[in-house]
């Protein structure tokens, strides 16, 4: 298969792809309504995601407020901001590429879209691998674990186990979201290659993109809070 776009009408007629025959579901009056509703529903879901993470932000605010003597120290002592910064850039890049993937689908260039989705997925996998290999595993070995399992010698702090709790549960929940993102983007890649998505039917990829952006936005907040200040 070539990644070059199909450029002639004759070729297109010969290779009619599934997305061109897309028909909306029976209970919708037209495809526009269906697409708008799908996006609206996705936004509602994203609102629930934001509120889900607000619990971690609130726990962070609480720790920052009541234990702030040790909170910042623990952040500087235990977390490597360079890893966090690289991961931030990687996530921003992946957000950009998934936007581009949607653009290519809207312009009916499925192999370009496929490549963009692939880059997004590679970024996501890079994020996860960096997180696990460079952050989680060393911390597991040092027993820098959440709460009661925190077993690391620290000469001056007593509440860094709580900081580590917030760090672990928020980044792990975020990591699970990234993992789900990898699976969903892979699904989108598979069906893009099979020609399901195109100008008439790209709602799934667009919603995947929305989901992926919210994962990015949450990391945009987690990064300075946990790693920097």
């Amino acid at each position: 298969m070539t990644t070059a776009p199909i450029s002639s009408g004759a070729e297109l007629a010969a290779k009619r792809e599934p997305h061109e025959d897309y028909v909306h579901q029976h209970h919708w009056r037209n495809a526009a309504d269906e697409a708008e509703a799908a996006k609206f529903g996705m936004w509602l879901f994203l609102a629930t995601e934001v509120l889900l993470f607000s619990g971690f932000f609130c726990a962070y605010a609480w720790g920052r407020m009541t234990h702030y003597g040790t909170w910042r120290e623990a952040s500087h002592a235990y977390l490597d901001w360079k890893i966090g910064a690289v991961n931030t850039v990687v996530l921003l890049l992946s957000s950009f590429t998934i936007v581009m993937a949607i653009r290519e689908l809207q312009l009916a260039r499925k192999w370009r879209a496929f490549v963009y989705l692939g880059i997004t997925n590679l970024c996501a996998i890079f994020f996860l691998v960096a997180k696990i290999a460079l952050e989680y595993l060393p911390k597991l070995q040092d027993k820098k674990l959440p709460g009661a399992n925190f077993w690391y010698y620290n000469p001056h702090g007593t509440h860094d186990h709580l900081f580590m709790s917030v760090y672990w549960i928020s980044t792990a929940t975020h990591g699970v979201h990234v993992l789900i993102g990898v699976l969903v983007i892979s699904w989108a890649m598979y069906w893009t290659a099979r020609g399901r998505y195109g100008p008439k039917n790209f709602m799934f990829v667009e919603n995947t993109g929305l989901y992926w952006h919210i994962v990015d936005v949450i990391w945009i907040f987690l990064f300075p809070m946990l790693y920097l200040v």
């Binding site: 509120l51 932000f57 920052r64 003597g69 950009f96 027993k143």
Partner: protein, 203 residues
């Protein structure tokens, strides 16, 4: 339809004409807004710059004002980044207003949740203030592990709001408190690291 756009496969580097070129039409004539390339690239570059700005303000020593000021600055930059992503990458400015309403409502709920909770947490001691030096016995446990892996269990927690020196870390306050010095020294008799080492250090 795809073949409407055949003529502009390669040369779209510049800002495209949104009205004519970048709207695909389906059979029912409803508009599909095609994501433009250049604004998105600019937003991406802007996000990278803002990330660099965050790192600079957080890490440059001459920029350090205080914990809370620097956190606020970092969060303001982060909010701006989030706004860019939501408005452009997530198409909010191109879409129906109802999606923005959903975002604003959720943000409102988050802000409400965190601020009101913090108002309570921050004012817990305004009336129930007890004399300095009183440590609750029993309920609170703090765990420290010394170099040889022994686990030290210290009881009692100081709230920074009860203290004269709210800037100090909680354990510093506990250690400096004459009421508590005796107890603390006893439990750290064989611990050489109970000094004022503030540096932390990278494991």
């Amino acid at each position: 339809m795809a073949h409407d756009h055949d003529h502009q496969t390669e040369n779209e580097g510049l800002m495209p004409n949104l009205e004519h070129d970048e709207h695909a039409h389906d059979d029912h004539g409803h508009h599909v807004h095609v994501t433009p390339f250049m604004p998105m690239l600019l937003v991406f570059v802007g996000l990278l710059c803002l990330t660099a700005l965050t790192l600079w303000t957080a890490k440059a020593e001459y920029f350090y004002v205080s914990n809370s000021v620097n956190l606020t600055v970092a969060l303001i930059i982060a909010s701006f980044k989030g706004l860019l992503v939501a408005a452009f990458f997530m198409h909010l400015i191109y879409d129906k207003a109802i999606n923005t309403v959903v975002v604003v409502a959720s943000m409102f709920a988050v802000v409400l949740f965190i601020t009101i909770t913090m108002i309570d947490i921050g004012t817990q001691d305004m009336v129930d203030k007890t004399e300095k030096g009183e440590i609750a016995v029993g309920g609170s446990v703090q765990i420290q592990v010394d170099e040889s892996g022994n686990r030290q269990v210290t009881r009692g927690v100081y709230s920074p709001f009860w203290s004269d020196n709210p800037g100090l870390s909680i354990v510093e306050q506990a250690k400096n408190d004459p009421e508590n010095v005796k107890k603390y020294n006893k439990s750290h008799a064989h611990d050489d690291h109970s000094g004022d080492d503030h540096s932390g250090g990278d494991h």
